[in-house]
C-alpha cells in the first residue's frame, strides 16, 4: 500500500481489493510512525477520518462511486473544516474552531473524501519554508535537515512522504508550486477565481488561490476536479464551466507551443536546476512540442510588485485578529490595551509584512508604492497575455534552487523572498501554473519544472505535465524514510 498513488488506490477501491477504512487506517498509522520526525500535521482528525471512511465505504456498498470516494487527503491549516481547529500557523488563532466548512471542504465531503488532518503552514501563509509556523518546523522528506518549502510545506511533506494521497494548500506567490518542487511532487495553482476562497483564511485576497498537491499529475487533477467550480459566496469566483480534466490527460502534446522565457534563466539560478529544466524542455520537444523563445519583459518587477501588493492586502486582512470575537485574548488595562497585548501574538514575519503593508498604503505613499504596483501588475499581466498569443504553455524552473537547509535563510527575509521569484508572476497575472518533478540535483534533492498556462487553461498545462511525467517517470522515485516501530 505504501506506494499506491491516489488513482491506484481508487482503482483498488473500485475492484473491492481494499476499503476506505483500511486506506485511512494505513495512512493514520503512517502518520503516527513518521510525523514525529516530519512534523507535517498540526491536527490529526483521526476520529473524523475513520467516521468519514466508514461512511464512504457505506456509500460504495450502496453502489456509489466517484474519483475521491473514500480517499484520505490532508488540508492545509488555513482552510476551514467545521469543528476542527484552524490556526493558520499562528498563535493568534490558537484554539480557534471555525463553525463552518470552507467551500472546498464542502466539496471534498460531498465527494466522499476522508480528511486526515490539518497541515502545517507558515504563519498566515507568509513564507517559503514553513519555518514561520508558530508551532512546528516541518522537514523535507528527502532530507530531514532541509525545509519542504512553503508556505504549504505541511501538505507537501505529507503527500511526498505518503501520509496523504493528496492535499490542499494555498498559493499566494508560489506557496504550492515551490514546496511541490522542493518535495518532488506535483503542485497545481489554478487560475484565480477557478476555486472559491470561501472559508480560507485570507493572506492577500487578490492573489490567494486554493491549490493542490498530488504525487502524480492525475492525482493532483482528481483533487482539482473535485474542488473547482463557481461559488456565489465568493464574488471573485468565476461562473464558468468546469471541463473534465481527467479526460484531458491524453499524453499527446504534439504541436503544443511551448515558450521559454529568457528572463527565467537568470544569474543566481542553481546550475543543476537550470540543467534539469532545460533537459525537461528538450524532452517536451522530443514529445512533439514546438519550443520557442519568448520574453516576459516585466519579470524583474514581479518581486517588488508582489511585496507591495501582498503586504498591503495582508495589513487589512489581519487587522481583525484582536481577540474581541474569537481566538485568544490577553487581558490588558483597558479595551485598547487588551487588543495591543493580544496582537503581540503575531510572529515576526507577519508583523514585518503588516508594517510594510500599512506603510505602502499610507497617505502620501499610496501613489508611489501601492498605486504604482497596481499599474506594474497590469503590465505583468499584459506580458503573459502577449506571450499566450504565441504559445500555449510557458516552461521554466519552479524554484531557483533545491531545498535549502532549515535555518539557512530564516534571518534573511530578502533571500527568503527570492525563493518565489519564478512563481510570483503567475499570481500577479491571470494565469495558472503547476510544478512537476523533473529530476534531482547531486545531493539527491528534487527539482521542479514549472508549466504556466493562460487564464483557465489548466487542462493544457496538466496534459503537458502528464505527457512529461509518463515519459520520464520521476514520480516513481520516492523518499526513503525509516518507519519507526
Amino acid at each position: 500500500m505504501d506506494y499506491l498513488s491516489l488513482t491506484e488506490a481508487r482503482d483498488a477501491l473500485r475492484r473491492g481489493e481494499t476499503s476506505s477504512t483500511a486506506l485511512t487506517q494505513a495512512m493514520l498509522d503512517r502518520i503516527v510512525a513518521l510525523d514525529n520526525d516530519l512534523q507535517s500535521y498540526l491536527t490529526i482528525t483521526d476520529e473524523l477520518a475513520l467516521e468519514q471512511a466508514a461512511a464512504a465505504d457505506q456509500r460504495r456498498a450502496n453502489g456509489e462511486d466517484g474519483p475521491l470516494l473514500g480517499i484520505p487527503v490532508a488540508i492545509k491549516d488555513i482552510i476551514s473544516v467545521q469543528g476542527v481547529p484552524n490556526t493558520a500557523g499562528s498563535k493568534i488563532l490558537e484554539g480557534f474552531i471555525p463553525p463552518y466548512d470552507a467551500f472546498v471542504v464542502q466539496k471534498l465531503k460531498e465527494a466522499g473524501a476522508v480528511i486526515l488532518g490539518k497541515t502545517n503552514t507558515d504563519e498566515f501563509a507568509m513564507g517559503s519554508s514553513t519555518e514561520n509556523s508558530a508551532y512546528v518546523t516541518t522537514r523535507n522528506p528527502w532530507d530531514l535537515e532541509r525545509v519542504p518549502g512553503g508556505s504549504s510545506g505541511g501538505s507537501a511533506t505529507a503527500v511526498s512522504a505518503q501520509m496523504a494521497f493528496a492535499a490542499l494548500g494555498t498559493d499566494t506567490g508560489g506557496s504550492v508550486r515551490q514546496p511541490a518542487s522542493l518535495c518532488g511532487i506535483v503542485g497545481l495553482r489554478p487560475t484565480y477565481g477557478r476555486i472559491s476562497r470561501w472559508g480560507v483564511v485570507a493572506f492577500a485576497s487578490s492573489l490567494d488561490q486554493v491549490s493542490m498537491f498530488g504525487r502524480t499529475v492525475a492525482d493532483c487533477t482528481a483533487l482539482f476536479q473535485a474542488t473547482a467550480g463557481y461559488d456565489p459566496r465568493d464574488s471573485t469566483s468565476l461562473d464558468v464551466p468546469v471541463p473534465d480534466f481527467a479526460a484531458g490527460l491524453t499524453g499527446d502534446i504534439r504541436g503544443l507551443r511551448v515558450g521559454v522565457p529568457a528572463e527565467y534563466f537568470i544569474e543566481g539560478i542553481d546550475q543543476e536546476v537550470e540543467t534539469a529544466v532545460r533537459a525537461a524542455i528538450a524532452k517536451l520537444q522530443e514529445l512533439g512540442a514546438k519550443i520557442r523563445p519568448i520574453s516576459l519583459p516585466h519579470t524583474r518587477y514581479a518581486l517588488p510588485v508582489y511585496y507591495l501588493i501582498a503586504p498591503a492586502e495582508a495589513s487589512a486582512n489581519l487587522a481583525r485578529y484582536d481577540g474581541v470575537r474569537y481566538g485568544p485574548r490577553l487581558p490588558g488595562a483597558d479595551m485598547i490595551d487588551t487588543v495591543k497585548k493580544t496582537r503581540a501574538l503575531f510572529g515576526p514575519e507577519v508583523k514585518r509584512r503588516i508594517m510594510l503593508g500599512t506603510y505602502v498604503l499610507s497617505a502620501g505613499y499610496y501613489d508611489e508604492y501601492y498605486g504604482r504596483a497596481l499599474k506594474v501588475r497590469t503590465l505583468i499581466k499584459q506580458d503573459f497575455l502577449n506571450a499566450f498569443e504565441q504559445v500555449d504553455v510557458i516552461a521554466c524552473p519552479t524554484s531557483p534552487t533545491t531545498a535549502f537547509k532549515i535555518g539557512e535563510r530564516a534571518d534573511d527575509p530578502l533571500n527568503m523572498y527570492l525563493a518565489d521569484i519564478f512563481t510570483l508572476s503567475v499570481n500577479l497575472s491571470a494565469s495558472c501554473g503547476l510544478s512537476v518533478p523533473c529530476g534531482f540535483d547531486s545531493k539527491g534533492l528534487p527539482i521542479g519544472l514549472q508549466l504556466i498556462g493562460n487564464t483557465l487553461q489548466e487542462a493544457t498545462i496538466l496534459n503537458a505535465a502528464y505527457a512529461y511525467e509518463q515519459a520520464t517517470g520521476w514520480h516513481r522515485q520516492v523518499p526513503t524514510l525509516t518507519v519507526q516501530d
Binding site: 493558520a88 463552518y100 487587522a319 474581541v324
Partner: protein, 494 residues
C-alpha cells in the same frame, strides 16, 4: 478697546448617514433588525462578525435603494462602482475596515430644493451619495462594577447594515437651512421607502461641518464637525451655537480649531470631543474581495421608472389640480402616508365634496385627533372612505359642520361609520321650520331683556340667541335656517 466686529458668513455642509431598510445586510444574508429592540448579537453571522475566511457579497436590493436615492436627489448614477476598504481600528468594526465607496460612489452632482421660512426656496447641491456598511455598537459599563476587561460590551446586530452617506456641498448658511435640508432629505428617503428617518434610534444621522469666514472673502475657515445630534431641533440649535461660538472665538482674536465637537442636548452647547487619532489615515484601497459593480442602463431605467411621485411634484400637483394653497399642499405631503390617505379620500369623492374641503378636514380636524391620541395615519381607524362618507352627509345638509366634528371624533375612537353614529345618537340635522320656530319663540319669550336690548341696537346679541336655540336643539338645527327664522322673529317683535 474699540473694535468694529467683523461680519461673518457661515459655511455649512451636511453629511447624512441613513441606514437602508433592506431585509438583509449589505454583504451577508443576516436580517436587518431594530438595533434598539433586538437582543444583542442575535442577527449576526460569520461574515458580519469578520470571522476568518469570510467574504462579502453585495446586496443588490441595497444597491437599488441607493440608486433610488441618487436619482431622487438628481444625481448622475455612476455605472462603474467600486468598494474600498477604509482601514481603522475599533472593536465595533469586526473586520477592522469598513467597506465604503471611496473614489467611485454610486451618485454624483445632485441637488435638492429646500423651502425656507419666508416661503422662498433654495437649491442645495449634493456632492455625492455612496454606499457603505454600518458598524456594531459599544456599551461601556461602569468600570467600578466589573473587571476592566469586561468593561465594554459590543453588539454586532448593526454590523454590516447597509448605510447610505449623502454629502452636500457647503451651500448651507444657517442652522435653519441645515434643518430644512436634513428634513427634506429624510422626507424623500421615507417617500422612497428606504429609511425610517428615526434620529433617536440613529438610523438617520446628521453631521454638519461648520466654518465661518468674513463676508466677501472666498477662503474657507477652519471647520468643526458636529456630532450627537439626535433631533432636528438639536441640528438647528447646535449649528447656530457653533456659528456663534466660532464668531466669538474669531472676534476675541482666537483661532478656530479643526475638530469634532459634540452637542450636549441638555446644556445645549457644543464641546470638544477627544479626537480618535491625530489626522486619521484610513489607508483606503480597492476591496479585492469584490469585483467592480457594474450598473446597467437598463437597471437605472427600471429603478427610475419605479420611483414614486416625490413631495415637490405632489405639492405642485395638489396646487394645480386641487386648488390647494402651497401651505396646505406642503402639510399634506409632508408624510407620504398622509398624502396617500388624502388622495384616496379624494378619489372616493369624485366631485363633491371637493378636494379642498377634504384637505381642510384632514388638516383642521383629523390631525388634531391624531395628535390628541398620538396616532399616526397608518394606525387610525378612520378610513379615507369613512371621511368621504361623513363629508357627504354635511354636503347633503343631513348634519351640520359642528355635528360632523363630533361624529368624526366618534369615528376616530369607535371605528364606526358616520351614518351609524348619526343614527345611533340621533344627530341628524333638523331643518323643519315649524320645530325651529317653536324653539325660537320659546327662547325669545325667556329672555325679554335681551330681546329689548337687541331691538335697541345691540345687534351682536344675535349670537346669544343662536347659541340658545342651538343648545335647545342639541346642535342639530340647520344653522342657516336658524339664522333666517331668528332674524324674522326678532323683527316681528320690534
Amino acid at each position: 478697546m474699540i473694535d468694529t466686529m467683523t461680519q461673518y458668513e457661515p459655511i455649512i455642509g451636511l453629511e447624512i448617514h441613513a441606514e437602508l431598510m433592506t431585509n438583509s445586510k449589505m454583504f451577508c444574508s443576516c436580517q436587518v433588525v431594530d438595533s434598539v429592540q433586538a437582543e444583542p448579537n442575535t442577527a449576526v453571522c460569520p461574515v458580519c462578525l469578520g470571522m476568518p475566511g469570510m467574504l462579502p457579497v453585495i446586496n443588490r436590493r441595497a444597491v437599488e435603494y441607493a440608486m433610488r436615492v441618487a436619482l431622487a436627489l438628481n444625481c448622475a448614477v455612476q455605472q462603474h462602482n467600486i468598494f474600498a476598504r477604509k482601514n481603522y481600528f475599533y472593536p465595533d468594526l469586526p473586520k477592522a475596515y469598513q467597506l465604503t465607496q471611496y473614489e467611485l460612489p454610486i451618485g454624483l452632482r445632485g441637488w435638492l430644493d429646500i423651502e425656507l421660512e419666508d416661503g422662498s426656496t433654495k437649491r442645495i447641491r449634493v456632492r455625492r451619495v455612496h454606499m457603505e456598511e454600518d458598524t456594531g455598537k459599544l456599551t461601556h459599563l461602569d468600570r467600578t462594577a466589573v473587571a476592566a476587561e469586561e468593561g465594554t460590551l459590543v453588539d454586532y446586530n448593526r454590523s454590516g447594515v447597509p448605510l447610505l452617506e449623502i454629502v452636500s456641498e457647503p451651500d448651507i448658511h444657517s442652522g435653519e437651512e441645515a434643518r430644512a435640508y436634513a428634513m427634506k432629505i429624510r422626507q424623500i428617503l421615507r417617500y422612497l421607502g428606504v429609511n425610517a428617518g428615526d434620529l433617536e434610534k440613529g438610523v438617520f444621522r446628521v453631521e454638519p461641518n461648520i466654518s465661518i469666514r468674513p463676508i466677501g472673502t472666498t477662503a474657507f475657515g477652519k471647520r468643526t464637525e458636529l456630532k450627537n445630534l439626535n433631533s432636528f431641533k438639536s441640528l438647528a440649535d447646535g449649528t447656530a451655537f457653533e456659528i456663534a461660538r466660532q464668531t466669538e472665538v474669531l472676534n476675541s482674536g482666537g483661532q478656530v480649531v479643526q475638530e469634532t465637537r459634540g452637542w450636549h442636548d441638555t446644556k445645549r452647547i457644543t464641546f470638544s470631543q477627544r479626537s480618535k487619532e491625530e489626522a486619521e489615515d484610513y489607508r483606503y484601497f480597492p476591496e479585492p474581495d469584490l469585483p467592480p459593480l457594474a450598473i446597467s442602463d437598463a437597471w437605472i431605467a427600471a429603478v427610475k421608472a419605479a420611483l414614486p411621485e416625490l413631495p415637490d411634484a405632489k405639492v405642485q400637483r395638489y396646487q394645480a389640480d386641487y386648488g390647494l394653497s402651497a401651505y396646505d399642499a406642503r402639510v399634506l405631503t409632508e408624510e407620504k402616508a398622509v398624502a396617500e390617505w388624502f388622495e384616496t379620500a379624494v378619489s372616493l369623492s369624485p366631485s363633491s365634496p371637493d378636494p379642498k374641503t377634504i384637505a381642510n378636514w384632514i388638516i383642521n380636524n383629523l390631525f388634531s385627533l391624531m395628535n390628541e391620541h398620538k396616532q399616526s395615519i397608518d394606525a387610525i381607524r378612520v378610513t379615507p372612505a369613512g371621511l368621504a362618507e361623513l363629508l357627504e352627509l354635511v354636503e347633503r345638509r343631513a348634519i351640520n359642520n359642528n355635528t360632523a366634528k363630533e361624529v368624526l371624533a366618534a369615528m376616530f375612537t369607535s371605528g364606526q361609520s358616520a351614518p351609524a353614529i348619526v343614527q345611533a345618537q340621533g344627530l341628524a340635522q333638523v331643518s323643519d321650520e315649524g320645530a325651529i320656530t317653536a324653539v325660537i319663540e320659546r327662547t325669545l319669550d325667556a329672555h325679554p331683556d335681551n330681546v329689548a336690548a337687541y331691538l335697541g341696537g345691540k345687534e351682536r346679541l344675535i349670537g346669544f340667541f343662536v347659541g340658545q336655540v342651538m343648545r335647545e336643539m342639541r346642535g342639530k338645527a340647520d344653522p342657516a335656517v336658524v339664522n333666517r327664522l331668528l332674524a324674522a322673529a326678532l323683527a316681528a317683535r320690534k
